[in-house]
């Protein structure tokens, strides 16, 4: 289609204005508001005991959830893409996993939280057993980890499965005929060929894990210093009236935004690499 100059420019203009109003301006304004009382004021909001502990809790939860999901994701992708057992229960299971793996994307985070309470809460299905053994899951960090795992479950599977299918299994078969064991083939052939897909999935999971609020909000007791993540801290400070608390909310938002901008940068770089490979 040959498009006139005027149309090109007006389309471009529409897109710029839309993106500016929706994305760029709001984020920029928060940065400005964070530092309007000076760098030291913003810094002191970011280094209150509650903020420091929220920062570490967020990082720790992500550090538990993401590796677990990566392990699960790669295993699951392998069985979806490479599983060739035709025995009926196995085949049925594969179809079932393929069908439900996207579920966490489709389910509202609040429902995730509710679901976890119903199972792991005090009067939940498994809750009484855990309580009997002195383990608290809901309203404790353990529940927040489970919630985070839930919402970031499908990313790695979804990124790795198509790569596995695309790469094909000829090299793996070649390795096997040359006498490589299953593990050797996996580590030397499969892992290198899917590493970019895995990396991209990991970055997406991390972004989600760092920023998750809906599910975590429901299963957390939201106590500053023990069960408050950075997103929860932003929410708590935003709910507090008064300008100083709001500045605190902006400061914590900026902190989170910087974290996620780093993730975005990684995402872009990896995305480019992934397309090149």
């Amino acid at each position: 289609m040959l498009i006139s100059r005027r149309t090109t420019w007006s389309l471009r203009g529409i897109v710029f204005v839309y993106l500016a109003l929706l994305l760029v301006l709001p984020v920029a304004v928060v940065f400005v508001r964070t530092f309007e009382h000076g760098l030291s004021a913003a810094w002191s909001w970011m280094t209150t005991p509650a903020a420091v502990s929220a920062f570490w809790l967020t990082v720790v939860i992500a550090a538990i959830a993401v590796p677990l999901n990566t392990l699960f994701g790669v295993t699951c992708a392998m069985s979806l893409a490479r599983g060739r057992s035709q025995r009926r229960p196995v085949r049925w299971l594969r179809g079932f996993i393929d069908g439900v793996i996207d579920l966490p994307f489709a389910v509202s985070p609040v429902i995730v939280g509710l679901a976890l309470i119903l199972v792991y809460g005090q009067s939940g299905w498994f809750g009484s057993w855990f309580t009997g053994h002195g383990i608290q899951i809901i309203y404790a960090p353990a529940g927040m980890v489970i919630a985070t795992i839930f919402v970031s479950l499908p990313f790695v599977v979804r990124e790795v499965t198509p790569v596995l299918v695309e790469v094909g299994d000829e090299q793996e078969q070649a390795a096997a005929t040359l006498g490589a064991s299953g593990w050797q083939t996996f580590w030397r052939i499969t892992i290198p060929s899917i590493s970019w897909g895995v990396a991209y999935g990991v970055v997406l999971s991390t972004a989600r894990a760092l920023g998750e609020i809906g599910a975590v909000l429901v299963v957390s007791s939201n106590v500053a210093g023990s069960t408050q993540t950075l997103p929860l801290l932003v929410y708590a400070r935003e709910q507090d009236f008064g300008t100083s608390a709001t500045t605190g909310a902006y400061a914590a938002s900026t902190e989170l935004a910087v974290l996620s901008l780093a993730v975005l940068l990684l995402m872009t770089l990896l995305g480019r690499r992934r397309q090149a490979v």
């Binding site: 929706l22 509202s108 609040v110 509710l114 996620s260």
Partner: protein, 242 residues
């Protein structure tokens, strides 16, 4: 499989069981009381509006990113992923600062349905763009040129050739936006105020220990999500995240 069950499947089953544990009648009354009905209606209408705007604007954005050349294009392209990376609660705070009380641009739409739509547009921006972009990239220029040389106007070429090729991608992006809007909570906690969105009502119910009505409303929302998921599958697209 055990992992999947413990983390996802058993808990979701528990919601369904809990919703119906008081019998079908109780379920029905808690879904059809005026508050729940109103929340569902508002949620679905708003999500539909968001899906439509997102489909149109997403296609325009994808078009400009693929067919246009301008300095800074790569930067704009990576900007599209920002809503995936930015925590939703931060998105809520940022939109409230710009379009809330004390707004530097003098627009105060805080706690209204309009800002809810804006927030959901923010959150769902990447879906349509990222699903239309690759299709647009692979679209054959020659067919369009052939159409033009046979005397078709741009409008006709777009309607007859380009749009049909893009339609599945646009639809699946819009469906994802819709699904996401139905379930969104993070941004809305900050900006929705008293607008009764279904996910907020569920949250309030959980906080108020009204687990049954929360579960009942959840089941209805889950059904919507599942229908959308199934519809997407029928379109033959498997990649959900991007």
């Amino acid at each position: 499989m055990l992992y999947l069950s413990l983390i996802a499947l058993i808990p979701l089953a528990a919601v369904a069981v809990n919703a119906f544990s008081g019998g079908l009648g109780t379920f029905w009354t808690s879904v059809t009381n005026s508050l729940a009905l109103q929340a569902l209606e508002v949620t679905l209408v708003i999500s539909l509006i968001v899906a439509v705007i997102s489909a149109v604007m997403g296609t325009v954005v994808a078009w400009v990113l693929v067919r246009d050349r301008f300095p800074g294009q790569r930067f704009v392209n990576s900007l599209i992923d920002l809503p995936f990376a930015l925590p939703t609660i931060v998105a809520g705070v940022t939109l409230l600062v710009l379009y809330g009380p004390g707004s530097p641009v003098g627009i105060n739409i805080a706690f209204t349905r309009t800002i809810v739509v804006v927030a959901l547009l923010f959150v769902t921006l990447p879906f349509v763009v990222r699903s239309v972009q690759p299709v647009l990239l692979e679209l054959d220029h020659e067919v369009e040129e052939a159409a033009a040389s046979l005397g078709a106007s741009n409008a006709i070429t777009f309607r007859r050739l380009v749009f049909p090729a893009l339609r599945p991608a646009i639809l699946s992006g819009a469906a994802l936006s819709f699904a996401r809007s139905v379930g969104e909570i993070g941004t809305l906690l900050i900006i929705a105020g008293k607008v009764q969105i279904a996910s907020l009502v569920i949250y309030a119910d959980i906080e108020g220990d009204a687990t049954h009505s929360a579960a009942a409303l959840s089941v209805v929302l889950l059904l919507f999500s599942l229908v959308i998921l199934y519809a997407l599958r029928r379109f033959g697209r498997t990649r959900i995240a991007h």
